[in-house]
């Protein structure tokens, strides 16, 4: 295992310490329980946004804490969802009197821990909404699986909702926006190499020299299929077509019903992409792939989108939702409209995403 780390058990803490040391103007880090929060938290009269998930996906989510994006991020152990006490403490720290939106990636662990956290916060009289992102088209079936994983769209939702919170959206409107973004984004990823969980010390899966794993998540989980290694163009085509040709996707999610005071099941649907639609195209690196390669993929993604009459109105290329040092990438397409384009363009000031300020 070749990593710039000290003891495996110190990876999460020391990485957070480094972030705190490097970005004191943007964020602070609370330890035990661990969470990253805006240096100027709480922001009064703004809905606070919290996200979180296992570590090993950096800069997601700590790198997105700051003005115009997240108020706090709760990092779990490597590839392990955070625990409710982290979210509860973070909620107490950053809520500014207008409620808290939790943006949760759809993994059994994340969902359950965020639900427990929400129950605890609600019992303290805080207003909380949990919105789940489940955009990974590699997972086909919602009935016989945990449902689709939350991947690239999460970051886009965090940016867009962060701007909306800045603009004064209330909790209900913000949660609706977040759900809308969630249902309009689709992603698909590929791994060229496995990652190595530090405390395990060996690669999570073995991939031959001329193999790749298509339809992976971001935890070094095996994907849908192992295939012979292909060219960047062929890979881009597989990823984009999986997304663009994905049919309507229905599923049931658990929402907190404020009036009933309990979780209720809600049906939601993602509509397929249609010719002529404006989209944001996001090519994401898995941690071990240099940006030069991501641009080669982006080039083909743009070409295919054009062929499919999808208008790319905004783009993002970089390693934002990673799997430790895995080589590979994912593609996310998000349907846009005037509102979300404006929110995307609004100023953001975080360690990993910054413009306009």
């Amino acid at each position: 295992m070749k990593k710039l780390i000290n003891r495996p058990e110190d990876v999460v803490r020391q990485s957070l310490e480094g972030m705190a040391a490097a970005h004191g103007d943007i964020l602070k880090v609370h330890f035990e329980p661990n969470f990253v929060y805006r240096a100027d938290a709480p922001v009064r009269n703004k809905v606070a946004i919290i996200s979180g998930g296992g570590s090993g996906h950096e800069p997601m989510h700590g790198g997105f804490v700051g003005k115009g994006m997240l108020d706090a991020a709760c990092p779990g152990e490597i590839f392990t969802s955070p625990t409710p006490d982290q979210m509860l403490e973070a909620t107490r720290m950053v809520h500014g009197g207008s409620g808290v939106l939790n943006i949760v990636k759809n993994y059994a662990g994340d969902v359950m821990n965020f639900e427990m956290a929400a129950e605890l916060a609600l019992s303290e009289g805080l207003r909380v909404a949990n919105v789940m992102i489940d955009d990974d088209v590699a997972v086909k079936d919602s009935l016989h699986t945990q449902g689709r994983r939350g991947v690239g769209t999460t970051i886009l939702a965090e940016k867009i909702c962060g701007a909306a919170a800045d603009k004064g959206y209330d909790l209900k409107r913000l949660a609706d926006l977040c759900r809308r973004v969630g249902t309009r984004g689709r992603s698909m990823g590929v791994a060229l190499t496995s990652c190595t969980v530090p405390s395990r010390g060996v690669p999570t899966f073995d991939l031959g020299n001329s193999e790749m794993e298509i339809g992976i998540g971001i935890h070094g989980e095996p994907g849908r299929e192992r295939r012979p290694l292909a060219s960047a163009d062929a890979i881009a085509e597989t990823l984009v077509l999986s997304i663009v040709e994905d049919a309507a996707y229905e599923r049931t999610v658990r929402d907190w019903d404020e009036t009933k005071g309990s979780w209720v099941d809600v049906e939601i649907v993602s509509e397929p992409f249609m010719a002529g639609e404006p989209v944001l195209a996001f090519v994401n690196g898995m941690g071990g792939t240099p940006s030069s390669e991501l641009y080669i993929v982006y080039r083909k993604v743009a070409e295919i989108c054009e062929k499919k009459s999808l208008r790319i109105v905004r783009s993002l290329v970089g390693s934002y939702a990673t799997s430790l040092e895995m080589q590979g990438c994912s593609v996310t397409l998000l349907k846009m409209d005037e509102e979300t384009v404006n929110l995307w363009d609004a100023p953001v000031r975080t360690a990993a995403l910054r413009w306009g300020v």
Binding site: G54, P84, G109, E221
Partner: protein, 222 residues
């Protein structure tokens, strides 16, 4: 051949005492620690390669806190264990094991010992907690596939008049079979479900850790 009032003796075979709970958690901690790599390896095949690491982290914490819990009632010990697991394991298993212990603890609130029928109620509450939280039904290749037959077998044995030790023994056998039964299953909950048919042929890590913990329960009273 029953002796006169053996079930009233703390530490006796038909009553489950708080000393048993402490012994159980300590044995479970050792079992998890010993099987840490094995559990992680199972998780690597169909998950994200950390189940053993996460569980070991949690149980280490629990074991380190046992001395401060030993003089509490069973409900408090179980709830305390649940809270420690919730805040240290993370992931699906942190939430699920945490809920199991908290719900079981709620049921055992204030109790210093449990008889077989009380034990059944406590175990059922734990199982119900896991199902409510995770929404997994038996047959979906999860820890429920170890716990559910365990609870069923325990209740059956209890109703048939088995002693605590006997009931736990029989339940353990059912849990072990339950773990084996996960191998041919297609995962439908948790991370392994993403693999769909590719999950077939692999033993579920959560069912495996569950079985280790349940085995320790029988050991604790033996």
């Amino acid at each position: 051949m029953r002796r006169s009032e053996p079930q009233l003796f703390v530490g006796g075979c038909d009553l489950f005492t708080r000393a048993h709970v402490i012994r159980w958690l300590s044995l479970a901690g050792s079992a998890i620690e010993e099987n840490k790599d094995f559990l992680t390896q199972l998780d690597a095949a169909i998950g994200d390669a950390e189940h053993g690491i996460s569980m070991a982290r949690g149980f280490k914490k629990v074991v380190s806190q046992l001395p401060t819990m030993a003089d509490k009632d069973i409900g408090s010990i179980l709830k305390g264990t649940g809270m420690l697991l919730i805040s240290s394991v993370g992931g699906a298993s942190g939430a699920l094991y945490g809920t199991l212990f908290v719900k079981a603890g709620n049921e055992a609130s204030g109790k210093l010992m449990l008889d077989v029928s009380e034990m059944a109620t406590v175990l059922k509450a734990g199982l119900a907690g896991i199902i409510e939280r995770g929404r997994a039904q038996p047959g979906e290749k999860t820890m429920v596939d170890a716990l559910s037959p365990y609870v069923e077998a325990f209740c059956r044995a209890g109703k048939g008049g088995a002693s605590m030790a006997e009931a736990l023994e029989q339940a353990t056998v059912a849990a072990e079979q339950g773990v084996k039964d996960t191998i041919p299953m297609v995962a439908q909950k948790g991370r392994a479900s993403y693999l769909a048919e590719r999950s077939v042929g692999h033993q579920d890590p959560g069912a495996t850790s569950m079985c280790l913990i349940l085995k320790a329960l029988a050991q604790a009273v033996s």
